[in-house]
Symmetry: C2
Subunit: 355 residues, 2 copies
Amino acid sequence: MTADRTIDDLETPCVLVDLDRASANILRAQAYADAHGKKLRPHIKTHKLPFWARKQVEAGAVGITCQKIGEAEVMADAGIADIFLPYNIIGRQKLERLLALHRRITLSVTADSRETIEGLASVFTDPDHRLTVLVECDTGMARCGVQSPQEALDLAKRIDAAPGLRFGGLMTYPAAGKAAEANAWLKEARDLLAKQGIACERISSGGTPDMWHAGDSDVITEYRPGTYIYLDRYQVAKDVGTADNCALTVLATVVSKPTATRAILDSGSKALTSDTLGMDGFGEIVGIPGASVTGLSEEHGNVTLAAGADLSIGDRVRILPNHACVVSNLFDEVHLVSGDRVIETVPVAARGRVD
Amino acid sequence: MTADRTIDDLETPCVLVDLDRASANILRAQAYADAHGKKLRPHIKTHKLPFWARKQVEAGAVGITCQKIGEAEVMADAGIADIFLPYNIIGRQKLERLLALHRRITLSVTADSRETIEGLASVFTDPDHRLTVLVECDTGMARCGVQSPQEALDLAKRIDAAPGLRFGGLMTYPAAGKAAEANAWLKEARDLLAKQGIACERISSGGTPDMWHAGDSDVITEYRPGTYIYLDRYQVAKDVGTADNCALTVLATVVSKPTATRAILDSGSKALTSDTLGMDGFGEIVGIPGASVTGLSEEHGNVTLAAGADLSIGDRVRILPNHACVVSNLFDEVHLVSGDRVIETVPVAARGRVD
């Protein structure tokens, strides 16, 4: 896998990950977190690769974040020793798997309901090796999470009342651009708990879009960015980085040119997904201004060519996708590249770990 | 894998495929094709399973359709003897793989350009074992395909002029609801070619939305439906079948109930994709009217509960997805069920075969 290959040797569509850019993105985020006294706990959903999880920890991350037990199992197998699973784990089989993980690594999870806590308490019963549970707070995202600081207090007490559990703090995933509201919410909750003598060891927030404002918060202690390692078209639109910071592209071939203004790529929604994240189109073609991916079917990408933009059958292009994380989830392997050199081809070990 | 299991024994999220419904869908489509004198060549993109490809052929299909060489390789390995690859195969590596396939099975492909034909002709050179090439026609879909019957004639001549190729007819993927326009286009092309003494052995159309009108056409000889085997929310909206005909569902668990009108499932875009196909929402919860999947992030599905609809943490639900094909592409395995019994768990062998 380390032969002298260039991207010209690869079949398309495939995923290229620029080693130099991703490495720089890791270091940049870690330096920012260090400078602002925050712990960094990167979310591996974006890359799903033990290779990068190890690099993130080596750079100074306190541990990693996974979203599903299956991802955490892969990362524990790869030697990652501290994993946060900010998810309500429900059901006997999953709780047994969680317990097995807890015996191997430093594990923490979240809960946003009495039901989740009761489930955890039924399986985690050892007072000498308690599971750390943070309370998930809905600070504006309208997804999971308790709806008020009072509810957070109630759940914190319930966690600490279970012999095999310990309250570890608060966790949120803030709505994009609503970091200030999230901070105010968390501060109110922290202070309410403090009045009852309950300390929040960790207050964890996340999200790449607002990552460069994480240092502004005087309440959060840890941050969980995911997409920052690769970035993507959406993050560039949000000014998190520039196109030159983006590490993941999809290499595609022009397979048809039916009209002067339409070219068809061999990369459709099975390579890019239909995620638009509110933007026009499905990706940007690197280095060819005026060529936009305006339509996708499963195996075809429709490119609309504006005046001055041209593509010919057989041309290879690199597509900057709207959303990097979901692309990683579609491919069994990715190519780690430096410039046009292929350094290594690695399996996406945590791909498709849905449960 | 054939122990006495029910869907209650499965971890979520996972994919359930109802054997009885899918089998009935196969037979219904085959009976319709037979009654109307059309050959059926199902597209395996929907299921990606050798299990179903074999059943489709056993039921009377003339062969199968794949969209990528990697899919065709999997299906050839599984014993499928006649495969149509309606795609412009571009690039030396892919052409070599195509040649290897051609030596094993009855293979046909499409071309919509001189470049594609030249590539094929450079690798397929044996006049005693010619590759069958159909001309892809853009009859309104605005994707691949020649733009006029005259162009189709030109390419047919080029194909027949190459010693290792033979012209096999015309192929289109019509725009949804535009079957009549597609038929008119194909008829004009067929008649133009006939005037030059060039016969169209096959005229192939496809698409589940219009499949029950395939018999109305006096020009097409073969039909390539894909989604018909499982159906999905989109096909039900298009009146291709009813909800009771739909064979694929995603089994999910309620993991959070933050408010009275919001429940969160453990199934997000990594289980359902963000395909809307122009509809509202991301799937329908079977048997719970008023519960709609109104938002997705990667690992969470937001359900909005109307008055009268309720879900509790720990409840399991079955989601009818908007688009079945893309769901098959996300999961490494699916569970074949009969009612609530799990008959067999099978790997999705052709999943992720992007090239």
